[in-house]
Amino acid sequence: MKVQRLQILDDDGKLLNPDLEPNIPKETLIRALETMVQVRLLDEKGIRLQRQGKVTFHIFTKGQEAHVAAALALSDDDWVYPAYREHGIALFRGFSLEDLVNHLFANIKDKEKGRRLPGLFGSLKHNFVNPSAPIGTQIIQAAGTAYAMKMQKEEKVTAVFFGDGASSSNDFHSGLNFGGVTKSPVIFICQNNQWAISVPFRRQTAAENIVDRAKGYGIEGIQIDGNDFLAFYTAVKQARERALRGEGPTLIESITYRVTPHTSSDDPKAYRSEEEVKKWEQKDPIKRFKNYLIGKKYISEKDYEKMVERNSELLDELIDKAETLPKPGLSTLFDDVFETIPPYLLEEKEELLEFYKEA
């Protein structure tokens, strides 16, 4: 099936179609760019910290920063289920860089209490759901959350991110099917970044596009240039309006590319060419969005450089601070299994503490 791909900015950040340009306040756009910059800096610093053995793991977002546009198109009250490369949405909603850095270090201030691989975090306050690691599980959960919103008669939607690999998971099928049948206000956002670790998109499905599946579930579908901030924003905004009108879910296929390894544990040289990566680097979402803002005279190249410098310094400070904080104590092992610790678990806890003589 040949589909139309929504694109508003060209590869250099010039408006391809000025009629489609969304009307977003200048300050909001600049804050979005800053969030994208922060996410990229987290990548640069995160992988260095991992290589130095200071954090256990790093998961990259580079090349997929246009997802921040979804945070602008959604209301802060809407729920977002990230896959695990959507840190920018939490940050844009006010999740602090300090909290995120503490999380990376799994220190005593880490909200996840040192239980998760760095990058797998959530925040109830920011309606940003704590992600899993098994692929695709959040897709059906998002449909359930959206159904709950409908029952609670709230003017909210749920947006869920996942990758092209997840489009093969059973929970993708469950999610789109349950969402469609119940006409729940849910937006399915597939970040088709062409690679599920080492397996290329062509090995995930014989269908030409992931968005083709929408028809089979009786829901709306749209394909976008996923490195185009304005296209991303527009698609999510339209999907949200449809959902709130009671017209049900939308599947957005965002065509993007993972220019980095899958995680700090992966070496893509084994399975893909440098040329392919270089080709996609030309479509860098930050470059395009920055040029758009420069074109609109909202910022200058110098402003951008200062923005990078400022955030880099801020992150370095936060990292220095986070590094010195102690790790969560032994007794936290038994917290949050249940709301109240049952006697048998309390017994296990006392046994462990006694063995290691810690209070």
Binding site: G122, S132, I140, A143, Q152, N170, D336
Partner: protein, 325 residues
């Protein structure tokens, strides 16, 4: 008071709780107009409508994943898995999602939901309508497991399960769904999860069971008394997670003999856990080996199910062996 069977008691619990708390939602296959294949949800759709009594697509992982998403957003879903033998597609959503959200999010995201499912043999249902997989979920951190053995318990435990802040697997012994009736109070009462019940006092042998096997165990205890003059104490666990270790301990330190009865396969079954527990804590009180009467390590049969399942006679044989050791 209403004289009702277990199906009626569960239906009553759902109806009353849905009246009391509008965040309670029932979902599953055929739970609507059909009232469920065992009629447990009969009539609820007429009272609460198709949004709160949600007939879902035929997809178990979908049912549970959808319920997880609802629970995260403040609802109290009660999801039905038509037969617990069909639960495996949902294992990921139960084990890695529902049971882990609280822990993995540092206590922020919680999943107060109930999974109701008929389990167990004795209905000539063959392999895919008879199994008893509680030990797999008992091995899973973050989920509680309740197993009623009569209508009164079914209502009281289900109300506790729905109000619990954590996910609860509520296993319904379908063999005794309609086996007998009992007086069940209308309105509010709960039976806490984690409190066993000593249903028969005795001094010679401690018998521990739950669900439909409790009745097999009670029959055996009666036979032991009448035929051999052996006095058995029978403990009904009611919930296996959390487990009421204290009540078991009080009994075995008194009797010095222990037999657990469960219908699941023997190896690594919940009876194995009970045996280990007693051996670890109270071995010096024991006057005979710690025994278990269980199903066998085979797939669940059909024609031979009466031989596969523990019977009062098989339990009695172990009681006598234990007593005469």
């Amino acid at each position: 008071m209403v004289e009702t069977n277990m199906v009626g008691a569960i239906n009553m619990a759902l109806r009353e709780e849905m009246e009391r708390d509008e965040s309670v939602v029932v979902l599953g296959e055929d739970v609507g107009k059909d009232g469920g294949v065992f009629k447990v949800t009969a009539g609820l759709i007429d009272k609460f409508g198709p949004e709160r009594i949600l007939d879902t697509p035929l997809n178990e992982s979908g049912i549970i994943g959808f319920a997880v998403g609802m629970a995260l957003k403040g609802m109290r879903p009660v999801a039905e898995i038509q037969f617990i033998d069909f639960i495996w597609p949902a294992a990921d959503q139960i084990i890695s999602e529902a049971a882990k959200f609280r822990y993995r999010s540092g206590g922020e995201f919680t999943v107060p939901m109930v999974i109701r499912s008929p389990y167990g043999g004795g209905v000539k249902g063959a392999h895919y309508h008879s199994q008893s997989p509680e030990s797999i979920f008992a091995h899973t951190a973050g989920i509680k497991i309740a197993v009623p053995s009569n209508p009164y318990e079914a209502k009281g435990l289900l109300l506790s399960a729905i109000r619990d802040p954590d996910p609860v697997l509520f296993m319904e012994p379908k063999r005794i769904y309609r086996a007998f009736t009992q007086e069940v109070p209308e309105g509010e009462y709960t039976i806490p999860l984690g409190e066993a019940d000593v249903v028969r006092e005795g001094s010679d042998v401690t018998l521990v069971s739950y669900g439909s096997m409790l009745h097999v165990t009670l029959d055996a205890a009666l036979m032991a008394e009448e035929q051999h003059g052996i006095s058995c104490e029978v403990i009904n666990l009611r919930s296996i997670v959390p487990l009421d270790i204290e009540t078991i301990g009080r009994s075995v330190t008194k009797t010095g003999r222990f037999i657990s009865v469960s219908e699941a396969p023997r190896t690594a079954g919940f009876s194995a856990e009970l045996s280990a527990l007693v051996a670890e804590r109270w071995i010096e009180y024991m006057e005979s080996p710690i025994f278990r009467v269980t199903g066998y390590d085979t797939p669940f049969p059909m024609i031979l199910e009466s031989q596969y399942l523990p019977t009062p006679e098989r339990v009695l044989a172990k009681i006598v062996e234990s007593y005469n050791y």
